[in-house]
């Protein structure tokens, strides 16, 4: 990682300055320390969604193809490696979801129509709540506990 560099033309003016300059240094802690680490982990984590969703596409496709295809797919999910992968994705995505929701409020305008944006803490708590409820409901539906 020590090779990581800022581009030499980062923040360079349109017309070059009249004296020679030293090359820009990249942020010292990027990407392994502090908030950067969280950010990169978040990015990688949400990229996992690509894989997970592909799996859902696959599931849908199998559903379309019929019971045999679906059963084969589900059978393959039982492979320990697959289970481990899903467990990892689960844990990672929960964290990603929480970080996403905690960063969400400030992406919204201060006022939405006539309504004032609630305090960030309140919004985050609300979003966390929705996350928990949604996860429970979806899980319940999938397990057949409701519906």
């Amino acid at each position: 990682m020590s090779e990581l560099r800022a581009r030499v033309d980062a923040m360079r003016p349109a017309t070059p300055g009249p004296t020679r300059t030293a090359d820009p240094q990249p942020p010292a802690n990027f990407p392994t320390k502090g908030n950067y680490f969280g950010y990169i982990a978040f990015g990688l984590g949400s990229s996992l969604m690509l894989l997970v969703s592909m799996n859902i596409v696959r599931t849908l496709w199998a559903l379309m193809e019929g019971e045999a295809a679906f059963r084969a797919l589900m059978e393959s999910f039982k492979h320990p490696a697959y289970v481990a992968f899903h467990a990892l994705c689960f844990a990672w995505l929960v964290w990603v979801a929480l970080r996403f929701f905690s960063l969400f409020p400030k992406t919204q305008p201060f006022r939405i129509g006539p309504f004032q944006r609630p305090a960030d803490g309140v919004l985050v708590a609300g979003l966390y709540g929705i996350f928990v409820v949604a996860t429970l409901v979806v899980a319940a539906i999938l397990t057949g506990a409701i519906l």
Partner: protein
């Protein structure tokens, strides 16, 4: 009399007429416990080595000149307590900027970007000549007030990974400023600015690393501004579908 405590200040030095690349120089100096990091630099400049170059003026966290990298993090040196660090404090110029001399970085690149977002009130096309003041409710003021607090200290630029990699990226402070005007009910320049925001290096280049907001010494929250600007752009773009552009 008790000996004063000392600290070793490691400063990056660079004189383009002499040095190929920046080097570091160490100064061990007596320190006071209420000092800011800037006080240590000024002590060095006044008492030890007057050839050290750094920018500063207000020493009250409002002029924005004294941003530097302190132990790896971008800090406003007149605000940052020296006591927060151990016996060795490394002071380097802001990351992501070309270095002019010692701790002084090249700001013209930022000034270019700053101007691009049209940071002024754009009057309505058919506006009559006005006297007196506009009315603005407290809520309308609060729609943009936070984003008007930027002191152009450049800490956010030096923390942003996109700035390191995309030379055309407008960057956190400039976008926050453009967004500040878009959110101001006295301004009518949204359409022009959104156009600029959509260009290469505009709002969509931001990866939402959020580090800009973490390091901002003034609570501006540029990352929030950028995401809001993205949202506005999406809405704007969607509207453009319904009502074709080019009226």
């Amino acid at each position: 009399m008790a000996e004063k405590p000392t600290k070793t200040i490691v400063v990056t030095r660079f004189d383009p007429d002499v040095d190929e690349v920046p080097k570091t120089q160490e100064y061990t100096i007596p320190v006071e416990d209420d000092w800011k990091v800037l006080d240590a630099l000024n002590y060095i400049k006044d008492e030890v080595d007057p050839s050290l170059s750094h920018r500063w003026s207000c020493r009250m966290a409002v002029c924005g000149s004294c941003g530097m990298t302190v132990n790896g993090e971008p800090k406003l040196t007149c605000k940052q307590s020296l006591a927060d660090y151990g016996d060795r404090v490394e002071i380097a110029p802001l990351a992501n900027f070309p270095v002019v001399r010692d701790l002084v970085v090249e700001l013209e690149g930022f000034m270019d970007k700053f101007k691009k977002v049209k940071p002024w009130i754009v009057e309505a096309k058919e506006a009559a000549v006005v006297e007196g003041t506009n009315r603005q409710s407290h809520e309308e003021l609060m729609d943009f007030k936070q984003f008007s607090m930027c002191i152009n200290c450049m800490l956010c630029y030096s923390a942003c990974p996109v700035v390191s990699n995309e030379p055309d990226f407008l960057g956190p402070a400039a976008i926050a400023l453009g967004h500040r005007y878009n959110q101001d009910n006295r301004d009518h320049g949204d359409a022009e600015r959104n156009e600029i925001f959509r260009e290469d290096g505009g709002v969509f280049s931001c990866s939402y690393a959020n580090e800009c907001a973490e390091v901002c010494p003034k609570g501006v929250d540029p990352s929030g501004a950028i995401q809001q600007a993205k949202l506005n752009n999406v809405v704007d773009w969607a509207k453009g579908f319904v009502v074709p552009r080019g009226k």
